[in-house]
């Protein structure tokens, strides 16, 4: 096993997380004063001082940063400026909803995108191929909030088939899931198609054919495991974009997840909440990338096992 490979990747993930934590702290403090946003317009000077004292905003920046880091290491994200509730508690109420939506969107885009890509590769230049690739381009060139609004207009307002807001049933899930998944599905289909075409033209596919393997075996046992290597990379990196995109979509469909919470918290400069959400999202991306690196190593023996024995 290539221990060093996995170790280096893990270390890099930690470093990224640390930089993220630092970045979030300073950027949020540079961009505006929470007291101004939180307190009513007619607040007095005393109110301001009191508010700042209450949340430690009067301390020097570096000291604030130190406290923030210390708490973060202990898993303490602080309290909301708005209602004093524990940030961790607020987020953990919302998080499952978001994870659920994200997860289903990812699964949707993979389950639909990959087979479409494989089909297109195997029927290259056919009508089906052109149609799928056309749809794929449509999918990832359409801004997804616009797609979401169109869906609401058609399926909720006009046809009354699907609910436009909330998260109670499977029917509620359908539109936001497809909206988020659509973009990714298009790009997965495209990448799968080109990866499969590339691999299918490789000499070892001819070897498989010469051995007497039938078409299915060639495609699924020989080509797909090789094509999976670049596809996994694309999926992993796109999960980051999906997390970002879901913030908008949660608001479009009034999905009670972290994304909506983020937008409402930014509006009132509820720093601890914003901080925590941005960090959690960042962590999700770092983890997704780490997972990709690990899967990549597992899929490709050339990374896992070094050349020796020549």
């Amino acid at each position: 096993m290539h221990v060093k490979y996995f170790l280096v990747k893990t270390l890099r993930a930690f470093l990224t997380t640390f930089l993220l934590v630092v970045f979030v702290f300073f950027v949020l403090r540079i961009t505006g004063d929470p007291a101004q946003a939180m307190l009513p317009d007619d607040a007095t000077e005393e109110d301001y001082i009191e508010f700042r004292q209450l949340w430690g905003l009067d301390k020097p920046l570096m000291e604030q940063f130190y406290i923030y880091c210390k708490n973060f290491v202990h898993g303490d994200f602080g309290q909301s400026y708005k209602d004093g509730r524990d940030v961790f508690e607020i987020i953990s109420q919302r998080l499952p909803k978001s994870v659920w939506l994200m997860g289903m969107s990812i699964i949707f885009s993979i389950v639909v995108g990959l087979p479409l890509g494989i089909y297109a590769a195997l029927h290259r230049n056919s009508f089906g191929d052109r149609f799928i690739m056309g749809t794929a381009v449509f999918g990832f060139s359409m801004p997804n909030f616009f797609l979401g609004i169109m869906f609401i207009l058609i399926f909720s307002m006009k046809l009354h088939w699907l609910p436009s807001a909330g998260s109670d049933t499977w029917l509620h899930l359908l539109m936001p899931m497809i909206t988020i998944g659509m973009t990714r599905m298009g790009s997965y289909a495209r990448y799968t198609r080109s990866a499969m075409l590339n691999v299918l033209s490789k000499p070892y596919i001819i070897t498989a054919k010469a051995k007497g393997a039938n078409r299915n075996r060639m495609v699924y046992l020989h080509a797909l495991p090789n094509a999976a290597i670049p596809i996994v990379t694309v999926i992993g990196t796109s999960i980051g974009h999906m997390v970002g995109g879901s913030v908008v979509i949660e608001n479009v469909f009034a999905w009670p997840g972290v994304g909506r919470l983020l937008v409402s918290s930014v509006a009132v400069r509820d720093l601890p909440v914003v901080q925590a959400i941005v960090i959690i999202m960042g962590l999700a991306m770092v983890l997704a990338n780490l997972l990709v690196d690990f899967t990549y190593g597992l899929l490709d023996p050339r990374i896992r096992v070094t050349a020796g024995d020549k």
Partner: protein, 324 residues
Amino acid sequence: MREKLVEAKGLYKQYALKSDKLFAKRRYLKAVDGVTFDIYKGEFFGVVGESGCGKSTTAKLILDMEHPTKGTVLFKGRDMSTLKPKEWRAIRLDMQMIFQDPLGALDPYMCVGKQIMEPLEIHNIGDPKDRKQMVLDMLAAVSLKPIFYDRYPHELSGGQRQRIVLARALIVKPQLLVCDEPISALDVSIQAQVVNLFKRIHKELNLTFMFISHDLRIVKHVCDRIIVMYLGRVVEEAESDELFANTLHPYSQALISAVPSLTPDAQAKRIMLHGDPPNPIDLPKGCRFASRCSKCTPRCLESEPELVDMGNGHKVACFLVTGK
């Protein structure tokens, strides 16, 4: 005494390897591991050996495209690595090179005439008005008609492309031409055309060639003097005729006998080597050919033989031959 154009003195080139273990000792690939030779002016100098023997790395060291880990290269008596950029550029112009893949060496979007002219423009050689004529003369020298001036690389055959690369190298009137497997990618019937062209240019321009190849038939045919390399070292050095008539090193013997002859059913006297050439990493002590040598003695496993002159410039690195 003939004039030396290139003197390679005790060249070493190591590449650090990425290790897979966390705290493992750094390992090195010893591509070139103590190589010394001279190339005389006007000589057709051959370097033969199998993959991984360090022949291409040696060429890069000679051309100062890579810097040796240890050792020096003198070109016209001067150490390239100590020269100031301006001097370096001037003297480097006297060394040109061509490689195996002519298509990769050519710009696909520039007509070949312009590509041959480019070195003249870069180094500001000749009157701009005369340059086109110089290119056309050069095309004629490599047996291509003037109409090729406006062609693009993809319109040419492999042999024609290699001629273009050759023309581009020759237009600056170099003294040394380093050719790394220049004909390996060409078809058999084309190889002979290009080989004949090399020979003619060698004679007409009194150019010095360093010709690297794995094809012993061709090397035998064109080269005056040859070194045989194995795992980063020179194992034998001799005049071409001497080397093939009186092969001394067991590796050279095996290598020469492995070349299929053109007489049917002649494989009887072949010396068969076991295994592939090993990687030049973690070499055991002793002679580096010992693991594949049929004549290996206990001494060969103990220490490494030096290259010893056996008289008339025939050098060999083997205890069994030198006795030392």
